[in-house]
């Protein structure tokens, strides 16, 4: 047992040693220790190096606000994380911890040379230099600046852990499990509210965990705590520990991050490492307590200088004395109690230095009884000690004069600058804060949320006050929910209450330009830096913060914001509220990316939608491509084939005999009702009135801006019923757009829309033998060209399955699309596949579909059009019902620049050297012009084509329709390709093959 561990004291397991490693050395702590408390127990204060000057730094707090003791933690491959606060990292056997931002070692760090040169590096120095010579910026200055940046190192391999997330609904969410939170939980739960209490620490109790000497309702604090927690559980309160409320969002939504396994030696496989909770609470009680402020004085950052309240926590909660010989420096009563408790367990208190002239008599008396020297009305003007403080210089203050100093030896300094209410979550809601001039701090004022603040969070001090206030706020929360609530009464003995005065930096007898009084420890921001920022014209705290980086370290200003504000306000000679408080931004403490990702990782990052026929494609070696959320078979390579070869084979086979294609992803909407045809007339550009039931028509949909949004073949099933198809990616958009017009603009129409995309599996059969293959399977329908011509539809039976059969073609060949209920999709596919063997049937994917349609001159919305293309531009004005008075987008087609000459129009392209163009390649008229060239369009689609005997392409070209036959040029990086503008139909222009 180390000399710093107090036998039998604290909440750690004294009989249970736990070993871990720190910078390669084995450290043995006790169960319940954090890395920080275990290191302190062996006398180690030095735990890190600061960001800018690489100054040696010790742990300064005992909580999540720690700015200095940041370490890397690891539990093996893939399970390393930088910048972990040693004060929050619970130890377990096998934990590997490493210090950061130092080389070669924590004790001897080359980077500390920056500290020697600190006079050259005041706040914002980089804005003023590194500009000359200009070329040095990229090559010298920036790399040097950047290599000095950062604290820990990034993880380098993928994280094997999994993370979880949940929603939680509760009547009352209480943030903070200290006395105020516990009392609030009791009031609210007794009133019948469903209560959830969360605390970021390993156990609930808050300040009680550091104050075992207090008696509540006649019971010692810790036994009261134990029975109170049991009783809350019995009342149905959910208590979640190791759970940080990270952000307070709209309307009482609070995000929580729960650390599930980081403290365990051997987590179970199915346990997530962390879990994100998205809580929606009817009422919120914020009982987050207060954070102790450091004092700002020259040399206040040496290892061994610890917040007094944290030292009390180390002693009473972890049984660790932070040193043997302490000097207490304070402006608040609370630090005196730390001195008394430490003195009782053998730490010598060399002095209590209080900046105040007058201090409470009882404190003075107790100090005297313990033989502690007391120096009231004193300031601190310096410290010494390289890797650990070894003395402190204190001076009397008389009026505004700082008197002669005196050095006091010590191995630790316990400081307190008073307390700041924790209002981060409150501010996340954009609620208003009010400046408390006396306490020189902000207190909560108005909020729009259903929220109460309890205890130290609103400036109350002492355990009794917190309990009473908590009880009242819990009752208020319950009453707001309409539940009759009473607040319990509490009597507390030995409650150590106190007051203090707020300070800017402490007075000194030194030249202010020579002192280094740190405000933001991690970022090495000193009071001098803040004054420099003000001198240079930074007038708002937001400017000061950004210029100096004060408050931007990983503690996000928990330690530095109020001190920084008071110093800046002093420098400006303005009251603090006029200088403003920088906004507190979520998260309350740094939050693991993995927890925010939750389950959305790997295959579950996004839904992958698959068709009912997808398993067959997978089994048959399909190569897939993602299209919107779907995955679609792109091609079906035979052994050894690449895409081009496979696609060429699929094209040839389909045109020669028959190919089959899974078209199930096409969007389908059933439009039903007496006004169905009127609705279709208004939505689509085409006329629908004269389309007979049993017939199909190509439908074109515009946005109200006149540009092409979607297209598809639409079948009229009966007078009042249309089967609309959309593009794969457009299905949801089209449905939403139709519902919008129907509900909002035309609510009088008797027509209804139902999405049937996933009701039907759709198999396209294309090729001269398609009918021969299909005919034997069809019942109740004559498939002959006369009885069932191109663009027909019918309801029938295919292979015994109920079906909607469409005679349509997106290939230019005789084609059918068979829709059967999804569950039968694969069965039908397999039957057709088996029967198709006699015709050398081939399965083809989206790539072949693209080639075949391009040969035939059919466009693909989204590839050949891009949201800036009108029907006329795309060469499909024929799809517009000329006599229709109106349809969506019609008016926009008459706008001046839409009817102006020179618009880009969709044409075909054939290269003069027979090479294949690249999709996206740009087109010019004059290939010899200098850059920047005048581009007249680009290639939208380009394929090798067996049917045409050479590569074909589509392009949009300015005034293209009038340039058919002309030559254009496509300048590529290595050469310029000449191409001839053609029409878009390359294959079977008369459409004979469709009519077979």
């Amino acid at each position: 047992m180390s000399q710093y561990r107090v036998q039998g004291k604290g909440r750690v397991s004294h009989g249970k040693p736990v070993s871990f490693s720190f910078d390669g050395k084995t450290v043995t702590g006790l169960g319940g220790d954090t890395v920080a408390s275990a290191l302190l127990a062996q006398g180690t204060h030095l735990m890190g190096r600061s960001f800018k000057y690489h100054r040696p730094r010790g742990v300064v707090t005992a909580g999540s606000e720690e700015p200095n003791a940041l370490i890397g933690t690891s539990r093996g491959p893939g399970r390393f994380e930088p910048n972990t606060r040693a004060t929050m990292a619970e130890i377990w056997p096998g934990l590997t911890a490493t210090s950061q931002n130092r080389w070669p070692s924590l004790e001897f760090d080359i980077g500390a040379v920056n500290d020697r040169m600190h006079k050259l590096f005041p706040a914002g120095f980089y804005y003023k230099t590194f500009m000359w010579p200009k070329s040095f910026w990229d090559k010298v200055y920036e790399p040097v600046i950047r290599s000095a940046a950062g604290l820990g190192v990034s993880p380098s391999v993928e994280d094997p852990d999994h993370y979880a997330s949940r929603y939680l609904h509760t009547d009352v969410l209480i943030v903070g499990g200290g006395p105020a939170g516990l009392a609030a939980a009791r009031s609210a739960a007794e009133a019948g509210a469903k209560v959830t209490l969360v605390d970021e620490n390993t156990e609930a109790g808050g300040s009680l965990l550091s104050e075992p000497g207090v008696e509540i309702n006649g019971q010692p604090a810790w036994s009261w705590l134990e029975s109170e927690l049991a009783s809350l559980t019995a009342l149905g309160v959910t208590v979640m520990t190791r759970t940080t409320a990270i952000g307070y969002y709209h309307q009482n939504m609070v995000g929580l991050c729960q650390r599930v396994t980081d403290h365990l030696a051997a987590p179970q496989d199915d346990q997530p490492r962390e879990r994100l909770w998205r809580v929606r609470a009817e009422h919120v009680v914020l009982a987050q307590g207060a954070l102790e402020k450091p004092l700002v004085f020259d040399g206040n950052d040496r290892p061994g200088i610890v917040l007094a309240g944290s030292a009390l926590t180390y002693l009473n909660r972890y049984g660790v004395r932070v040193g043997n010989a302490a000097v207490v420096v304070t402006s608040h009563d609370s630090a005196w109690f730390t001195a008394f408790d430490l003195a009782a367990v053998g730490t010598t208190i060399n002095a209590i230095v209080d900046t105040r002239e007058a201090v409470r008599e009882d404190l003075l008396a107790q100090a005297a009884a313990l033989g502690i020297e007391v120096l009231t009305g004193h300031t601190v003007t310096g410290t010494s000690g390289r890797l650990r403080v070894n003395s402190i210089r204190v001076n009397p203050i008389t009026g505004s004069t700082v008197g002669q100093g005196r050095d006091i030896a010590c191995d630790c300094v316990l400081m307190s600058g008073g307390w700041t209410p924790t209002l981060h979550l409150f501010s996340h809601t954009k609620s208003k804060l009010a400046w408390d001039a006396e306490g020189k701090t902000f207190l909560p004022a108005e909020t729009l949320e259903d929220c109460q603040i309890a205890g130290a969070g609103r400036g109350l001090w002492g355990i009794e006050a917190a309990l009473v206030d908590g009880a009242e706020m819990g009752a208020k929360a319950a009453s707001a929910l309409g539940k009759a609530a009473a607040s319990a009464t509490y009597s507390v003995a030995s409650d150590r209450t106190g007051t203090g005065e707020a300070q800017k930096e402490l007075p000194t007898d030194k030249d202010l330009t020579s002192t280094r009084a740190f405000v933001d420890f991690q970022n090495d921001v000193t009071a001098k830096d803040l004054r420099l920022a003000v001198r240079e014209g930074m007038r708002s705290i937001e400017h000061v913060k950004r210029y100096t980086t004060n408050g931007m370290a990983t503690d996000q200003g928990k330690m530095s914001n109020i001190n920084g504000l008071n110093i800046a306000a002093d420098a400006l000679g303005k009251p603090a509220p006029e200088v403003g408080l920088t906004t507190f931004r979520p998260p309350y403490t740094p939050t693991t990316f993995g927890a925010l990702c939750g389950y959305h990782k790997g295959a579950h990052f996004d839904v992958t939608r698959k068709t009912p026929i997808d398993p067959w494609a997978e089994e048959n070696g399909a190569v897939f491509e993602p299209v919107a959320q779907w995955r679609r078979a792109r091609y079906f390579p035979n052994t050894g084939e690449d895409m081009d070869t496979a696609v060429m084979r699929e094209c040839i086979a389909t045109r020669a005999s028959v190919g089959m294609f899974d078209a199930s992803t096409l969007g389908k909407i059933e439009v039903v009702g007496p006004d169905a045809v009127e609705f279709m007339n208004r939505m689509y550009t085409n006329p629908w009135t004269k389309l007979a039931p049993g017939k199909c028509r190509y439908g074109l949909l515009l946005g109200e801006d006149g540009f092409i949004r979607d297209d598809g073949v639409i079948g009229r099933l009966s007078d009042d019923r249309f089967h609309v198809t959309t593009t794969t990616g457009g299905a949801a958009r089209v449905m939403d757009m139709m519902e919008d017009y129907l509900q909002t603009e035309w609510p009088d129409l008797n027509v209804w829309l139902t999405s049937t995309t996933e009701q039907w599996a759709t198999i396209a059969l294309n090729g001269p033998n398609a009918r021969k293959l299909l005919e034997p399977f069809v019942e109740g329908l004559d498939l002959s060209a006369e009885a069932f011509p191109h663009m027909s539809n019918a309801i029938c039976t295919v292979a015994g399955f109920p079906a909607r059969l469409f005679r349509v073609s997106f290939t230019g060949e005789l084609g059918f699309e068979i829709n059967v209920p999804a569950r039968h999709g694969q069965a039908l596919w397999e039957k057709l596949w088996d029967a198709g063997q006699q015709y050398d049937i081939c399965a083809y994917g989206t790539e072949t579909m693209h080639v075949l349609r391009a040969e035939k001159g059919y466009i693909i919305v989204g590839q050949d059009t891009d949201g800036t293309v009108t029907p006329h531009d795309a060469g499909i004005s024929w799809a517009i019902g000329k006599k229709k008075p109106d349809f969506v987008g019609k008016r926009s087609l008459e706008r001046p620049d839409i009817v102006a000459p020179g618009r880009k129009q969709l044409v075909g392209l054939l290269t003069q050297d027979g090479s294949k163009l690249e999709e996206g390649a740009q087109i010019v008229l004059d290939p010899n012009q200098p850059i920047p060239m005048k581009m007249v369009g680009h290639v939208t689609s380009s394929y090798e084509s067996d049917a045409v005997g050479k590569p074909i392409a589509f392009a949009v070209i300015e005034g293209g329709f009038d340039k058919i036959g002309e030559t254009v040029h496509i300048p590529m990086p290595d050469r310029t390709i000449a191409a001839t503008i053609t029409g878009t139909v390359f294959y079977d222009p008369a459409g004979d093959r469709l009519k077979m």
Partner: protein, 417 residues
């Protein structure tokens, strides 16, 4: 005003940095100005600077309702690039890029323009087509942008995962090497200091409550929290609040303001050498010179001036980052914040004259205004000074919404079929 240099830094260090002067004075408004710029972000301050420097005007004020640089200038993820598809955009952003290069020297303020390269990922066949279309167009416009294979992309940015079995595999990328990032605050401060040096008045915490027009309909001045100020020319550069300001002059705009969020991780040693953007999974990331990973999120679905934004969007953004960079899964989010972005129907800016004589507007930059800062400021100054469009801002008119000549970069990258 002290010239900034290593020498002046050294000299001042000897006197304890006690003699640095104010970088810009905080002014009270005068009764009249030749030009009033509304909005003291990078765009507004830059406009004032170029008006003074290049057009010889001296009696200029920049007025802000809050602190200078407190809006989107100080809230964005600082990406700078010019590899836009359309000639109009490429020209304007490349003009900006030319000005970025040399801005530190021009302003004598190190804005830390870091040409680290911006890589835009392609995750599916449609992305590849669209990316190549950009690359070819950029090449012929003289804008640098090159295609990288997945392996080349990984070599350029080692944290990138190019696992072909990923939900959104990387099929390639476009890289603009000249592109990069800059220190956002320094841009506002640098323009402010340089403008102040040329006599521009910077008036903070002075909301403009109305733009006044005379009997002839032309601008006659602005009402502010500190009273009426006479002027014949007003240039509004108020980002998310542009609609509110312009409405007071009777000009209604095709503009909507949305909350946009961004976040940073805890600082780590340098690991991320460039900027990576993926429009398909909505991930935008770089590493700051402080070591934080700087990550851009998307806009919430509803219009808002609350500067808040919800948690779900942050969850999605971080998941998108970890999809492409799985090694960052155990990193931690340090801070997230919100801004208000003003978005036009074609996602391109409105930059220039308005139907009101003497009233000019610079708005509608959506999520991409930072990169345009010097270009927008420079060309708007031209337009304000000469009352005519600059060649680079001429297409970015209000009229295009009437005639239909939109500059729709977003539609051009339309999601597929």
């Amino acid at each position: 005003m002290t010239h900034f240099s290593a020498l002046s830094l050294l000299k001042n260090s000897l006197s304890g940095h006690k003699n640095w002067p104010e970088q810009w004075p905080d002014k009270e408004p005068k009764a009249e100005y030749d030009v009033i710029v509304v909005g003291a972000g990078g765009h507004g301050l830059g406009c004032a600077y170029y008006l003074a420097k290049e057009h010889g005007l001296r009696n200029i004020a920049v007025i802000d309702k809050g602190w200078l640089g407190g809006g989107n200038t100080g809230r964005n993820t600082t990406i700078i690039r010019s590899n836009y598809l359309y000639d109009e955009s490429a020209k304007l952003y490349d003009h900006a890029l030319d000005l970025w290069d040399g801005l530190s020297q021009e302003l004598n303020y190190n804005v830390m323009y870091s040409q680290r390269g911006v890589m835009m990922l392609a995750h599916n066949v449609h992305d590849v087509q669209s990316t190549k279309r950009h690359i070819h167009s950029n090449r012929l416009n003289g804008v640098d942008n090159t295609w990288l294979t997945p392996e080349e992309a990984k070599e350029f940015c080692p944290p990138l995962s190019i696992d072909p079995n990923a939900r959104y595999p990387v099929l390639g990328a476009a890289l603009q090497r000249r592109a990069g990032t800059a220190r956002h605050d320094a841009v506002a401060w640098g323009y402010a200091r340089a403008a102040a040096k040329l006599g521009v008045d910077i008036i903070q915490n002075c909301p403009v409550t109305a733009i006044r027009r005379g009997a002839d309909g032309a601008v006659s001045g602005v009402e502010t929290a500190r009273g009426f100020i006479k002027t014949k020319k007003v240039a509004v550069s108020a980002a998310g609040h542009t609609s509110v300001v312009m409405e007071t002059a009777g000009v209604r705009l095709p503009l909507e303001s949305y909350p946009l969020q961004a976040l940073v991780s805890e600082p780590i040693k340098p690991i991320f050498p460039c900027v990576v953007m993926s429009n398909t999974v909505h991930a935008y990331i770089s590493q700051s010179d402080k070591g934080e990973l700087v990550i851009g999120s998307g806009t919430d679905q509803y219009t808002s001036y609350s500067q808040r934004g919800g948690l779900p969007l942050i969850e999605h953004t971080v998941a998108a980052i970890c999809e492409i960079f799985p090694i960052f899964n155990r990193m931690r989010m340090l801070r997230k914040w919100g801004g208000i972005v003003d978005v036009t129907p074609d996602r391109s800016a409105i930059l220039g004259k308005t139907p009101v004589s003497g009233l000019y507007v610079n708005c509608g930059w959506g999520t991409g205004g930072f990169k345009a800062t010097p270009g927008a400021a420079h060309t708007l100054a031209w337009t304000v000074a000469k009352d005519e469009p600059h060649a680079a801002n001429a297409p970015f008119t209000l009229e295009r919404f009437t005639t239909g000549r939109l500059i729709d970069e977003a539609a051009a990258a339309a999601v597929a079929h």
